[in-house]
Amino acid sequence: MITYLLRRLIFAALTMFLSAALVFSALLIIPGDPAEIILGLGASPQALAALRTQLGLEQPPLTRFGWWLAGMVRGDFGQSLNYHRPVGELILARLGVSLPLALAGMLLACLIALPIGIMAARRHGTWVDPAIIALAQLGAAIPSFWLALLLILLFSVTLGWLPAGGFVPWERSPLGYLHSLALPVLALALGQVALLTRMTRAALLEVLAQDYIRTARAKGLPGRQVVSKHALRNAMITIITSLGLSLGQVLVGAIVIEQVFSLPGLGRLALIAIGTRDFPLLQGLVLVYAGTIVLINFLVDASYSLLDPRIRYA
């Protein structure tokens, strides 16, 4: 198990390093002089030279990559060109919006999708299962940002229950905070329900067809216990994999949802960074997103070693 975990960890670190290299080299292939692009055509030679020094453009690329990477490891993401503040600080401040949004969205998606998926698998062969499949197929076709617009149309425009956008910090008003995040979380969660329901159902159905399930039934175990004690534990490995996949999608999907609801999160910051040509900020943000996805994949792999005895004792 230690060897397995170590191997996965090395792979994750390698993927992280290569992602950093990809994000860094993105700046290198920008056609033209980055300093000129950032400051525009009317910039004075002095300002251009100062910015080139700030970006370290006189150094050879490999040296710059080394410095940049060393900074990243220490948590120093460089200086934002637009905000004139450390990138790490800006990201940390916005994390307070994006992280609760993604986690709550994921949690809500699980709470809705897992029971429905389990129900579909248990009612396999009745009308319930195909009905759930058809609904999931429809749900998977609806873009989450359009769903967000529909939710605004219903809950904000028509009923007037919830705000159509904007953000209230928890410190200012806990109720306002919950109000401002309710629709974004709902839109984000519903966007994942279809995928998770299908995955849960498929994983459980596969396990339910196994011989040991028949044995469990044959020895007189009630259906509920067969599912909870024997089937779900074994289906969990497949379900965890789709949860990881889903969490990655929620993370990236939140970029769009933040835009719909004007939430000051990481996604909005990334769009501002593109609009203002703030390359250090954008590099930091893209790397944080990619790094989180690598981390999720590693955690999914690591969880196998806890769930699967074949790996645990290997």
Partner: protein, 267 residues
Amino acid sequence: MPKPNLLLGGLLVGLVVAAALLSWVWLPHDPNAMNFARQLEPPSHEHWLGTDNFGRDLFSRLLVGARMTMLVGFIAVGLAISVGCLLGVLAGYLGGLLDEVMMRLADVLFAFPAILMALLLAAIFAPGTATAMAAIGIATVPVFARLMRSSVLVVKEQDYLEAGRALGAHHGRLIARHILPNALSPIVVQASLSLAVAVLAEAALSFLGLGTPPRTPSWGNMLREAQGFMALSPYPALVPGLAIAITVLGWNLLGDGLRDRLDPRSG
């Protein structure tokens, strides 16, 4: 046995393709003609789906949007198939260090979903339709590379490949005659499912302002503009969203249907 998925999926996709083709030969109105006397109208005899905040005809814009959706999807997925399959064949067939390196690179690309890739590309080049296509295409490459590689690995172990090699067939012939035909059906199925993902990604990117610019109507940028006027008229927000959902549903159903048809084991 009838194949409802295949039939319905084909029908929906066909409908959207027909709308895209129609947009080149016939449009009820100029999709960019503004009419400030007729803003945000509900559907009528003259404007079948109503008008938007500039008084532009929603139906005409929807047709042109279908064109953009299909164009971006086909080019992005086509790019992913050609690059991904080539890399997958090389990795699977040659194996060894090359395989290891390529699969690690695929891991890296998996950490950059289309929207993240688009953020990166939009910073380097300008945001636009081509950037969106490239981002979606690059993000989809590892899907096809992995799929192709695993197909090749299965076929590589088969006796008929061994026989072919024993008869002196060179690598190119073995790949073209034995490996590619056997790997084709999973690729076709995945292409259909990836097109669904591409349609969603293109819409999301245009909605963010990272895709098709406002001058050309696309379903994503129509929704972007509609959001501010939902309280006045729901139609500009309903129409393009429904079109996206129909297209995605079509590709997904078609993909599932093709899988049932082409792979007897999964039926």
